[in-house]
Symmetry: C2
Subunit: 282 residues, 2 copies
C-alpha cells in the first residue's frame, strides 16, 4: 500500500466524508444529516464493485482504503465508514492510516445500540455473509457486555430486496420469516433485540419487525453512529455552529450514476438528482 | 486497451475457456460438459467484481476483456462468454480482439432457442437489469424473427435467490409471481415462451414455470450455446474424438474461493472441491 495522501488544508468548513459500497450507506447519511443539519457531506458509493458483502475480507479492505484515500484527498474533516462489511474488514487499518482524522465505523455504534436496547442480553445480528463471517459484531457486543448471547444470521437476500425496492409485500415477508425462523423459539431463550448489521436493512425494518414478533426491539447503527461523529467533531473543535448554512451533499459513484440516483433516493429518504452525482474511478 | 496477448501454441488438446462474472455460468459449463464429454475446460469466475448485472455497459466490457485476456494467455481453443450481461456488452469487441479464436456468447443461442420454441412469436425475456437495458435479446430475436413481440423483464432478485440456494419455497414462489405478473394476461396476448436470459436463472426454472402457467415454454441458452461451440470447433478441426479421455475442469476465481466452491456446486450440478479453484488477480 502506498503512503496515505496529504489532505488539503482546511478547518471546520470541510465536509464530512461518508463511504459505502453503494447506496446502503445513505441510511447512515440520512441519520447524519438529521443529527448534524449544519454540516455538509461528501458521499462516495463504490457502485462499480458492490456488493462487498460476499467478497473476502482482504479484497474489501483494499477497496475501502482506495475509497478512503479519494475522500481524504478531496479534503474531509471526518470519515464515516457507512458500511458494516468495510467497517469489519478495514476500520483499524483506516484509523492507523489517517492518524489525526477521526474515522468512525458503524459496527461499534450498532453494538452499543443493541446493548443499550437489550434487557436479557440475548441479541441477534442480521448482516451480510462477510460481516457475519468476520464476527465483528459478536466481538464488539462481547466487549461492551461480556454476558451477552449473540447469534448472527447472514441475510444476503435482504440486500437485493432493498435495492429492488421490495421493502413490503409477499416476497419481503416470506424472506424475513425464513431468515428469522431460527429465532422463533421459547421466549426464555429468544433474543429480545435485533441489530440491523447492514446499512441496507433499515428500509426493511417493518417486515423484519413483523417476522420477529412484537416483543423484539429492532435497532440499527445509524443514529448512534451520527452521535459518535458529533462527539468526535465536538472534541476537536470541528463542529459547525448550529445556525451555519450547510453547503449540502455531494455524491461520488464509481459506476452507474443514474442507477445510484434512482435507487439511492429510497435509502436517503429524499430524491437524488443524477446531476448531483459525479462519476469517479478509484 | 493494450494489444491482445499472444496465445501459446497448441492444438485440439487445449481446453475450452468459459468466462462468467461468478458462478452462474456454471449452468452453461454443465451443458457444455454434457454435450462435449471428451473436452476439458478452464472456467473463470470474476467473483471479486460480481455481479455484472447492475453495472454499466462500459465497465462490464472492460472487465470482460481482462478476463478473456487471462484465459487466452493460458491457452484455450475457444472462448465461451457464459454471462448474458458480458455477452451483451462485449461480444463484438471480444470477437474482434481475438481474430481467429472462436468466441461464443449466450445471447444469440438463447434467442435462437426462444424463436424455435415459440409458436405465436410472443416471447418474454427474463434477465438482469443491465442485459435488459442493453436490449441485446430484443435485437437478437428480431434479427431471427422480425415479427416477434418481445418483452424483457429485469429480475434482479432471481440472482440473489439462486446464489442463496433458495430455488424453491415461499420466497422464490412469491418473487416469481411478482416478476411474472405483467405477463399474466388474456391468452391471446400472453407470451408462449420465456427465455431465461441470465445464467443464474435455470436453477429457478421450476418456480418460474409454475408462475408462468402450464402453457408457457421455458428455454435457456445453455444447450444451444453448447451446440454452437461444438459446430464451431468441428468446423475448425478442433473437436476431440468422442473416445478421448478428458483432462477435466479447472476453475479460476478472482475472490472468495471457498464460497465459489460451495455455491458453485449448485449451478454445476456436481460438487466443486475448493482445492480445484485457483485464486487469480485480473
Amino acid at each position: 500500500m502506498s503512503e496515505p495522501p496529504a489532505p488539503p488544508p482546511g478547518g471546520m468548513q470541510r465536509p464530512i466524508g461518508v463511504f459505502d459500497s453503494g447506496v446502503g450507506g445513505l441510511t447512515v447519511l440520512r441519520a447524519l444529516r438529521a443529527a448534524l443539519p449544519a454540516e455538509s457531506f461528501l458521499y462516495l458509493g463504490d457502485t462499480a464493485r458492490l456488493p462487498y458483502g460476499t467478497k473476502s475480507e482482504h479484497t474489501v479492505a483494499r477497496y475501502a482504503l482506495q475509497a478512503a484515500d479519494e475522500l481524504v484527498e478531496r479534503g474531509i474533516k471526518c470519515l464515516v465508514v457507512a458500511c458494516n462489511t468495510a467497517s469489519a474488514a478495514a476500520l483499524p487499518a483506516l484509523q492507523q492510516r489517517f492518524g489525526e482524522l477521526p474515522v468512525v465505523g458503524v459496527i461499534e455504534p450498532g453494538a452499543r445500540a443493541a446493548c443499550a436496547a437489550s434487557h436479557s442480553g440475548r441479541i441477534a445480528v442480521l448482516a451480510t455473509e462477510s460481516t457475519v463471517r468476520a464476527g465483528a459484531y459478536t466481538r464488539a457486543i462481547a466487549r461492551l457486555r461480556p454476558d451477552a448471547e449473540v447469534r448472527a444470521i447472514a441475510c444476503a437476500l435482504f440486500v437485493a430486496l432493498a435495492e429492488e425496492g421490495w421493502t413490503e409485500g409477499a416476497v419481503a415477508r416470506a424472506a424475513a420469516e425464513r431468515y428469522l425462523a431460527p429465532l422463533r423459539m421459547a421466549e426464555a431463550a429468544a433474543p429480545d433485540t435485533i441489530v440491523l448489521g447492514c446499512t441496507h436493512f433499515p428500509v426493511l425494518q417493518a417486515v423484519i419487525a413483523a417476522a420477529a414478533g412484537e416483543h423484539v426491539r429492532i435497532v440499527d447503527s445509524a443514529a448512534t453512529s451520527a452521535a459518535q461523529v458529533r462527539s468526535q467533531l465536538a472534541a476537536r473543535g470541528l463542529l459547525l455552529p448550529a445556525g451555519a448554512v450547510p453547503a449540502g451533499v455531494r455524491f461520488l459513484a464509481t459506476d452507474a450514476v443514474s442507477r445510484f440516483a434512482a435507487v439511492g433516493g429510497r435509502f436517503l429518504g429524499a430524491p437524488i438528482a443524477a446531476d448531483d452525482v459525479e462519476l469517479i474511478d478509484l
